[in-house]
C-alpha cells in the first residue's frame, strides 16, 4: 500500500484492529542510507513480537518510529488504533513533520521504551528517575508517584536501591530501574531496543528474568534483541529484518523451528554455531 494513498483514505476504511501497533510502508533515509524501505508490521494487543536482524538492518530505527523519536519519511502508523498525524517528506519539504504535538506526547506517554544504554538521568536517584514521568506527564501528586515508583522498583527487585544514584548501580540494576521507569507510566505498549547488549554477560540474566516476568502478564511488547534463545522463549511472534525490510515474520514456533527465507536460516544457523 502506498503511504500517500493510505493517508488520503478516510481513516474508518483502513483503521486496523483497535489495539497494538500497525505500521504500513514505513520508509526512512538517514544521511545517504535508505535505512527503512517500506516496512509493514503489526503487533496485536497482548502480543509479544521479537525483532531480529543483523547489525544495521534498521531494527532500532523502526522501533524509534513507533514512538516517533525518529520521524518516518513515508508511511502510516497506528498506535492503539489511533493514526499518528505526520506530514511525510515531499518535494518542497525534505524533513517529515509532526502535525499534532499533543497527540505525539500523549502516544509517547502510553508507550514505554527501554534503551540499550539505559539512559537513566544521573542527577536523580533511582526513585526520582522512576517517579518523574508520573508526576510531570500523568500529573500524579509527588506522594502518589513515589508510592508508584516504589512499587515498580520492588517489581524489578530493587526496593533497596530507591535512594541510589545511577552511578552507584551496576549495569543490570540500571537497566532494571529503566524498566521500572517505563512501567511506572503504566503504558499499553513496551518497546525494548537491545536491552541487554550493553551488559556484562553475568548481568544479562537478571534483566531477561524481569522481562520474562513482564511477558507473562499479557503485556504488548516489541523486543529488538540478539538473544535468540530468549526471543524464542518469550515471543508469540517474530520478525526478521534485512536491509530495511521485513524479510520474514510469523508465529514464533514456525519462525524459529521452520524458517522459510534463506536470510533468516543463515542468521539462525550462525547463532546456533556461536552457542554450541
Amino acid at each position: 500500500m502506498r503511504a500517500a494513498m493510505a493517508s488520503s483514505l478516510p481513516e474508518s476504511q483502513i483503521a486496523p484492529a483497535a489495539g497494538g501497533v500497525q505500521a504500513r510502508g514505513i520508509e526512512k533515509r538517514l544521511g545517504n542510507i535508505e535505512v527503512l524501505r517500506g516496512v509493514n508490521l503489526d503487533v496485536a494487543a497482548g502480543e509479544i513480537l521479537a525483532i531480529l536482524g543483523s547489525s544495521g538492518s534498521g531494527k532500532s530505527t523502526f522501533l524509534r518510529c513507533v514512538n516517533l523519536l525518529t520521524l518516518p519519511d513515508q508511511g502510516d502508523i497506528w498506535v492503539h488504533g489511533e493514526h499518528l498525524r505526520l506530514r511525510p517528506v515531499s518535494e518542497d519539504d525534505s524533513a517529515p513533520r509532526i502535525l499534532d504535538h499533543d497527540q505525539v506526547r500523549r502516544v509517547r506517554a502510553s508507550i514505554g521504551m527501554v534503551f540499550q544504554s539505559f539512559n537513566l538521568w544521573p542527577h536523580m536517584t533511582a526513585l526520582e528517575n522512576v517517579s518523574a514521568g508520573p508526576v510531570l506527564v500523568n500529573r500524579l501528586t509527588r506522594k502518589a508517584a513515589a508510592e508508584l515508583g516504589r512499587r515498580y522498583l520492588a517489581k524489578v527487585g530493587l526496593s533497596d536501591k530507591a535512594g541510589s544514584y545511577p552511578r552507584h548501580l551496576s549495569g543490570g540494576q540500571q537497566q532494571r530501574v529503566a524498566i521500572a521507569r517505563a512501567l511506572a507510566m503504566e503504558p499499553k505498549l513496551l518497546l525494548f531496543d537491545e536491552p541487554t547488549s550493553a551488559l556484562d554477560p553475568e548481568l544479562v540474566g537478571e534483566v531477561l528474568r524481569v522481562m520474562t516476568a513482564l511477558a507473562g502478564e499479557g503485556r504488548t511488547m516489541m523486543i529488538v534483541t540478539h538473544e535468540v534463545a530468549f526471543a524464542r522463549e518469550v515471543s508469540s511472534r517474530a520478525a526478521f529484518m534485512h536491509q530495511g525490510r521485513i524479510e520474514e515474520e510469523g508465529s514464533s514456533r514456525e519462525f524459529f523451528s521452520n524458517p522459510a527465507s534463506p536470510g533468516l536460516r543463515r542468521f539462525l544457523a550462525a547463532h546456533d554455531e556461536r552457542h554450541s
Binding site: N67, R108, S110, F115, W121, P122, L136, V137, A182
Partner: protein
C-alpha cells in the same frame, strides 16, 4: 584618607551590584542564545551566531564606549534634547551583552555534551520540551558548565572596572580619583587590587561550593 574609606565602601557596593545584575541578566541571555544556537530554525542560528561572534571579537572597552555614546544618542533623539545615559545602566547593558555572548558558548558546549539518550528518555516518556529543558537539560548542563562559568564570572568582576571610564563611581574610579588627588597612587591602586581580589576570592568560594554540591549527587 578617612573620606576615601567611605568612598571605597560605596565603590565596592556599586561594583558588586553591577557585577551581580549584569551577571544574572547575562546568564539568561546566554541560555537563550545557546538554545537559539541549538534550534532547528536556521535564521535564528545565524542571527545569534553573528551576535556571539561579533561581541567576542571586539574589545570590551569598545563595547562599553559604543553602548554609552550610542545609548546617549538614542535617548537624546527619543526625548528631542541632549540626555546622557546613566553610567550604571550603560554598564549593565554592555556587560550583559558581553557576558551573554561568552556564556552562550559555554552553555551550548555543555548542552552538546549531555548524552543524547538522556534527552530521548525524557521525550519517550512524553515530557513537554520545556519540562525536558528545565528538569533534565539544565541541571545536567550546569555541572558541566560550572568550571568555565566560574572563570567567566571572575572576568566579569574584573571587567566592571572598565565602566569607570564612562564615569561610574566604582572601586576603580574611587582609586583613580584618590590616586590623583592624594598623590599616593600606589596606596590607592593597592587598596583597589585588594578589594577586587576579595571579590574574586568570594566568587571562587561560591563556585567551589556549587561544584561540590553538584558533584555529591550524580557524577
Amino acid at each position: 584618607m578617612d573620606g576615601f574609606v567611605l568612598q571605597f565602601v560605596e565603590g565596592l557596593k556599586t561594583t558588586v551590584l553591577l557585577a551581580l545584575i549584569s551577571g544574572a541578566l547575562g546568564m539568561v541571555v546566554g541560555l537563550l542564545a545557546a538554545a537559539a544556537k541549538l534550534s532547528r530554525f536556521a535564521p535564528l542560528r545565524v542571527v545569534v551566531g553573528a551576535y556571539t561572534t561579533i561581541v567576542r571579537g571586539v574589545p570590551e572597552l569598545l563595547i562599553i564606549l559604543l553602548i554609552y555614546f550610542g545609548g546617549t544618542v538614542a535617548i537624546s533623539s527619543f526625548f528631542g534634547r541632549y540626555v546622557e545615559i546613566n553610567a550604571f545602566s550603560a554598564g549593565v547593558l554592555a556587560l550583559t551583552i558581553v557576558f551573554g555572548a561568552y556564556t552562550a558558548e559555554i552553555f551550548r558546549g555543555a548542552v552538546l555534551s549531555i548524552s543524547r539518550g538522556q534527552i530521548e528518555a525524557a521525550r519517550s516518556l512524553g515530557l513537554h520540551p520545556w519540562q525536558t529543558w528545565l528538569l533534565i537539560i539544565l541541571p545536567l548542563m550546569m555541572r558541566i558548565a560550572l568550571p568555565a562559568l566560574g572563570n567567566q564570572w571572575f572576568s566579569l568582576i574584573k571587567e566592571t572596572s572598565l565602566i569607570s571610564i564612562v564615569g561610574l563611581t566604582d572601586i576603580m574610579r574611587v582609586a583613580a580619583v584618590g590616586a590623583g588627588s592624594m598623590r599616593a597612587p600606589l596606596t590607592f591602586y593597592l587598596a583597589a587590587s585588594a578589594l577586587y581580589l576579595f571579590l574574586t576570592s568570594l566568587a571562587l568560594v561560591v563556585f567551589n561550593l556549587l561544584e561540590r554540591h553538584f558533584a555529591v549527587r550524580g557524577h
